[in-house]
Amino acid sequence: MERLFRESLFARARWLGQLLVFFLLPLPLFAGGKPATMLVNVADTRDLEPGITLFIAQLYNESHYLFALFCIVVMGSVGLALGLLADRLFILLGVHLGRLSHHE
């Protein structure tokens, strides 16, 4: 009983550790090389027609923070969607996409 409790505690601690690694450690990751300095730029929206381009330009002008979040969400979801689509295409082509055995 005590062993089970200790094991479950260890598993939880390990899980918490992994979460911390995920969220805290990347912070100094881009310390390498010269840091990017803030670019003072305003996207010109005067000639843009209503649509996605105008939305992106307005978001960029309003808040860089929201723009950064939007970038991550867009890139992650577009990557995921295209990945799943490409998976389907390969399956249609008759390519086996299961686990591979590793031999050199």
Binding site: V21, G33, T45, G83, V95, S101, H102
Partner: protein, 351 residues
């Protein structure tokens, strides 16, 4: 070709979509196949075609994050990603990058940074390329000797490698990394990540091309797991890098999305291509790629900036073409095998 131009609202200019797709596709194929981010191909390629350099790195990192999601997903399903090993490496890499950054600042104070780093980069690329190529030649010769059945011919796998010697150092906690089949001290991947982090920060690169051989030769991962695990790390660093650059207004999102469309297709093709290629063939192509990078840095050192950029782009296109040819051959062969057998898939058949 004006009809192919797209307006980039943040950079405030028009840019050819075909070029963005081509650059993305090329780096996607190479990235999925070798497990690298490919910034060293993208930045000079964008430079050639007049993309504003203020946005080049941020845009590259943004597309890299998305592209690595595709590759990591695919490699994960192939069983090529060791997540626990990847996390241990990240712990070391982040710390190493911080130390490396401080070292660079110290060199800058001494006025040595520019010259020393360029020379160190050249020496480092020459060392990695030569070692991977030497290892490939050694493997091929040992295979031939073993096949010929000559006396004293020991297959390479039976000789103790540096990774096996390092795995024997059992400083607790000792961890089993299931996907890579490696059991070693937790500190081994952390220290290897730390060392590669220092080197990457000093050279001012993402470090994918350093980690991939390090995972093979120092930790003992199979080549495919090294590729997949490295991409997992590239995914996290790419996403974080894109976020910080976007915060500073340095990501041209429209360009990044177009590049990602090309890169996602390319990454999927590059990743599936590893299925038909032996681990050592990946190492050979990797060594060739490293030598191309070496020559381009040498050209840059000699003041031939444009030649260096063109060389990198041309080499990227050539290498990705080779990978696609290998993929097409593999798919055709697999379909033929299936037809012959009437059912099921031909597993493990590689070129």
């Amino acid at each position: 070709m004006d009809w192919m131009n797209v307006y980039l609202p943040i950079a405030g200019m028009e840019f050819n979509v075909g070029l963005l797709l081509l650059i993305g596709f090329t780096v996607g194929v190479c990235g999925g196949f070798f497990g690298i981010g490919g910034a060293w191909i993208v930045t000079p390629a964008l430079n050639i075609f007049g993309f504003p350099m203020a946005y080049a790195i941020g845009t590259d990192l943004a597309h890299m994050g998305g592209k690595s999601v595709v590759s990591t997903m695919r490699h994960g399903k192939f069983g090529n990603v060791d997540y626990l090993l990847g996390i241990c490496m990240i712990v070391g890499t982040t710390t190493g990058m911080e130390v490396g950054a401080r070292l660079v600042m110290h060199l800058e104070k001494l006025g040595l940074a520019e010259s020393w780093i360029r020379v160190a980069y050249i020496i480092f690329l020459a060392f990695i390329g030569s070692y991977v190529l030497y290892d490939y030649i050694r493997f091929v010769r040992s295979q031939k000797l073993a096949q010929s059945g000559k006396e004293g011919a020991t297959p390479l796998a039976k000789k103790e490698t540096l990774a096996q010697r390092l795995q024997r150092i059992s400083i607790p906690p000792v961890v089993t990394f299931k996907a890579s089949g490696v059991r070693c001290s937790f500190w081994l991947p952390v220290l290897v990540g730390f060392a590669t982090g220092i080197v990457a920060a000093v050279l001012g690169v993402g470090g994918g091309f350093i980690r991939m051989p390090a995972l093979i030769y120092l930790i003992g991962c199979p080549t495919l797991v090294a590729v997949g695990t490295d991409l997992f790390e590239v995914m996290i660093t790419g996403a974080y890098g894109a976020f910080t650059y976007a915060l500073k207004g340095r990501v041209e999102l429209v360009a990044a999305v177009w590049m990602l469309v090309g890169a996602a297709v390319g990454a999927q093709m590059g990743t599936v291509a590893v299925k038909y290629v032996r681990g050592y063939s990946i190492r050979l192509l990797f060594a060739i790629t490293i030598f191309v990078a070496l020559f381009s840095v040498l050209a840059k050192q000699l003041g031939m900036q444009m030649t260096a950029s063109i060389m990198i782009l041309a080499a990227g296109i050539t290498i990705s073409s080779v990978i696609i040819i290998l993929l097409i051959k593999g798919v055709v062969r697999e379909r033929q095998e299936r037809r012959k057998k009437g059912q099921g898939f031909a597993k493990g058949d590689r070129l």
